[in-house]
């Protein structure tokens, strides 16, 4: 997963890097990668790095370079950008001027690497995109490298666009399905950082490198994967014609749920076109990690998946939401008695556990059996039964009339019959196909 091994041969190593924007989402990853490659790093920004080996010069884009010394570096990686809302950001010409000043502080043979954006364009609908485009021209004039990443994402939360989308999705009860489907081209922030530092350290040829998933995914699918892998929730999709959404953009700020949505970013998203990234990825020998792997929180994702799975299966058997300790016990049991591979359950069944019945391979009308699911349910039922809160579910502790008992049995079978018929029509799978 990720890039092939870096070439660290002494002849090609350019070890002195100056980085701007290192406290931001992309900048942090670039700094980490540079340190991993044992580069000598100087930061320009408002906050120093806690690493004592990293040199620091205070630089605020609004103040200019008057207080900066001459930058003695082999390469300058310019990540800093004014990410504030258009009505609050500095004028675009000033930001471009700051960039020019920075470049002039570098030695003439220093390589300039500029992290731009897919939104870059002379006629981009956003200030952000237009500024990026102008700075790109400065970099090209210097014989530098421009990196245009697609949708940069990670598993961690921050203030980047991906994190804001994630936060919004956590509040929304639906996933908007924009029509026609806008496409995003994701790239994990660590993959981007490795590409950027490699460009600097190995002095790759000048030009514009477009980096992102060459085929892209629809924005709807992107949101669905965030919901599935990062939020562990299910959301129904609601079609939304993009034209109507554009018209309603000014109203988004007024609504409680969508107040945090940047209408400009959304407008840019709805308007962007697919960039051809395949050739540039090949030129950099860059292999992007799969989106589903990159979106998963690091660490014990298997345990999280098993807890989701346990929540669905135990809640189904119990007939109500299972308590946390039972769900965790399920996860521990699966890891103990099997190889621990999660089923990859669809979050739909976590939200509606009673519908797990549709996936059970039982019935009189022929049903698809998932042996793993059957085995997990057998394990789950033993665990569920061995608990105090299931005692009254599994044992008759209150005397009832024989007729009432017979009626309860009949209803149980009738309900099951309904599920069996429904399963005939739909034949769903418990597993997510992502």
């Amino acid at each position: 997963m990720g890039l092939p091994p870096d070439d660290l041969s002494p002849k090609k190593v350019v070890s002195r890097l100056t980085i701007t924007g290192a406290s931001g989402f992309v900048g942090r990853a670039v700094l980490a990668e540079a340190l991993r490659r044992k580069c000598e790093v100087t930061l320009l920004g408002r906050r120093p790095s806690p690493d004592p080996n990293v040199r620091f010069h205070h630089w605020d884009m609004e103040d200019g370079v008057a207080r900066l010394p001459h930058l003695d570096c082999d390469a300058l990686i310019h990540v800093a950008a004014d990410m504030r809302r258009e009505d609050q950001a500095m004028p675009g010409v000033e930001e471009v001027a700051r960039a020019r000043e920075l470049f002039e502080l570098c030695p003439s043979n220093a390589l300039i690497i500029f992290v731009s954006s897919r939104a870059s364009g002379t006629d981009a609908p956003t200030r952000y995109g237009r500024v990026k485009s102008q700075i790109e021209r400065l970099v090209e004039a210097r014989g530098g490298i421009v990196i245009r990443p697609g949708m940069v994402y990670s598993a961690q939360r921050g203030r980047d666009l991906h994190s804001r989308l994630r936060g919004l999705l956590a509040k929304l009860p639906v996933i908007p399905d924009f029509l026609p489907h806008p496409v995003v081209q994701p790239i994990h922030v660590d993959d981007l950082a490795r590409a950027v530092v490699r460009c600097a350290a190995e002095r790759l040829p000048a030009g514009i490198y477009r980096l992102g998933d060459p085929e892209g995914v629809t924005f709807t699918e992107y949101l669905r994967l965030i919901a599935r892998l990062q939020l562990s929730v299910w959301r129904p999709r609601v079609p939304m014609p993009a034209a109507l959404v554009r018209l309603a953009l000014p109203l988004l700020r007024l609504l409680p749920l969508t107040g945090s949505v940047d209408p400009v970013s959304l407008k840019s998203l709805l308007s962007s076109t697919t960039m051809s990234a395949a050739a540039d990825l090949a030129a950099l020998q860059l292999q992007l990690r799969p989106l589903r792997d990159g979106l998963r929180p690091s660490g014990r994702w298997q345990l999280r998946e098993l807890i989701m799975e346990g929540s669905a299966l135990t809640s189904y058997l119990l007939g109500r939401r299972a308590p946390t300790n039972l769900v965790k016990r399920y996860a521990r049991a699966i890891m103990k008695v099997t190889d621990g591979t999660p089923l990859g359950i669809r979050t739909f069944y976590v939200t509606f556990p009673k519908l797990v019945r549709l996936c059970e391979g039982r019935g009189f009308f022929g049903s698809r059996r998932d042996p793993q699911l059957e085995m997990r349910l057998d394990i789950a039922i033993l665990l569920v039964e061995s608990s105090t809160f299931s005692a009254t579910q599994f044992m008759q502790t209150r005397r009832v009339h024989a007729f009432a008992a017979a009626a309860a049995m009949f209803m149980a079978l009738l309900v099951d019959l309904v599920f069996q018929i429904a399963a005939m029509a739909k034949k769903p799978s418990i597993r997510d196909e992502y």
Partner: protein, 532 residues
Amino acid sequence: MNIDTIETDIAIFGSGPAGVSAAYPFLETGLKVTIFDPGAAVGAPPPGDSYLSMRTSDPAQWRHLIGPDFEALEKLDELSPKFRVPRLKHAFEGYLDRYRIECENAVVHGSLASGGLSNAWGAGVSCFDESDLAAFPIKSSDLALSYRRIAERVGLSGTSNDDLSSFFGSEVPLQASLPMDETISALFDAYRRAPDVAIGQGVRIGRPRNAVLSEPVGDRHGCKLCGQCVLGCARRSIYHSQFDLEALASRKNFAFVPGLFAETLAIEGETPVMTCTRLQDRRTVRVRARKILLACGAVGSAAIAKRALSAGGSSRLLSNPVAIFALCLPAKLGHVVPARFFGLSQLSFSLSRHGEEDLFGNLYGSHGLPISDFVRRSPFGRRSSIRLFKALMPSVVIGMIWLHSKYSQNMLHFPTDGRIVLAGGAAPNLAAQFEQARTIIARVFRRYGAWMIPKTFTIGPPASDSHYAGTLPMSSAPRTGECDRDGEVLGLPNVHVVDGAALPAIPAKPHTFTIMANADRIASRLAARLTA
């Protein structure tokens, strides 16, 4: 290499019911007796409260039912819940590996733990009558005294005045039968009102005979119907040979040496010598004795003896083919799980066909059983099945039936490389026999208001019953691989088989009590001769 040597008068290998029963007669004569066993680690103590109390109020019940390491989940395919009990994992694990047993079309259970299979037995007991002993070189009178001695020591409960009393044998002391629960009691009452219906079909129904105390004896308490029989008896009401080991420990001429696994047997002159491995440090220990008694279980004892004879080859392993089923008494729908119940056999029955009683059965209440076992086998969705069985279970009775060992055709093979291969087999007409039995039983019980639940009749795999015998059978004219009426193996002087391996047949009856009595009989005869 240092080798330890232990010398004793009587060396008994195996601490199960047979081994401890053989120890007593020798001890009475002053001979020095040592019992050896592999002695696997002891499990957790059994639950102290009743089943219903545990289920409704103990948040840690899953540790008893599933195990702290989820041991029970690794045995989902076990037919009997006894072999899934987590605290008994120690009793069964390692047995197949230690003996290097490979099973083909069979399921075998054995134990290296102290107490052997008494760690998880159903505690059913019965005397064998003359017809049961037809293939034996002994008569029922040879066993009578031993039966009484064992019964007095172990403590039995049962009835001596119902239709099954003569089946079990009526000349042993008995404590009162343990009470039946409401559902089984209703079934038995229906039988008592009209026994001819069953008897006309060859079926007799009566109270079981169990090695379970209904009244206290010594430091063992009478059963208080806590319902925890399967998980473990905290009151020591259910007989376990460990109780005898504890009682024997105070005798000066008795020693118990756990942790030794018997590997090879040899005869040096006329003296039998067992070479053992001490499991703790893998040291070799040699045991020399005037007499060596094999009580390692039918499989283990046969392996030791066969290899000592360099016979290898094969021998038949007798077992009682087993099946289970469930009955429902609709009149008991809506009833509740009782606060108190007995978890082992509450009612027994026999079936005679063609003039022979070749089938024995027990009925158990369903209350102490997890309904998960039923839900997992149900054709309906699990959630619906939970609702279904919750309502159904108080009216459900579980039945188990065993057939005469003549219907089993298991073979034990002893290749020269040290493995044991158990090839499960059955008589060609076994399925038909079970089907006929099922039909008769279902018809009889239906007349008493109990309906066999469809699709619950399940035949167990060969040897899954754990009633093993006949691998070194007694004979009046023993051949190689057999023993005489004193259990002495032909070709192995002073080596005697006292466990199930010595039984040449096992009728459709509980056989552990007879194994114990036979061990007592053999030991009594040997002790008398040694001290004469």
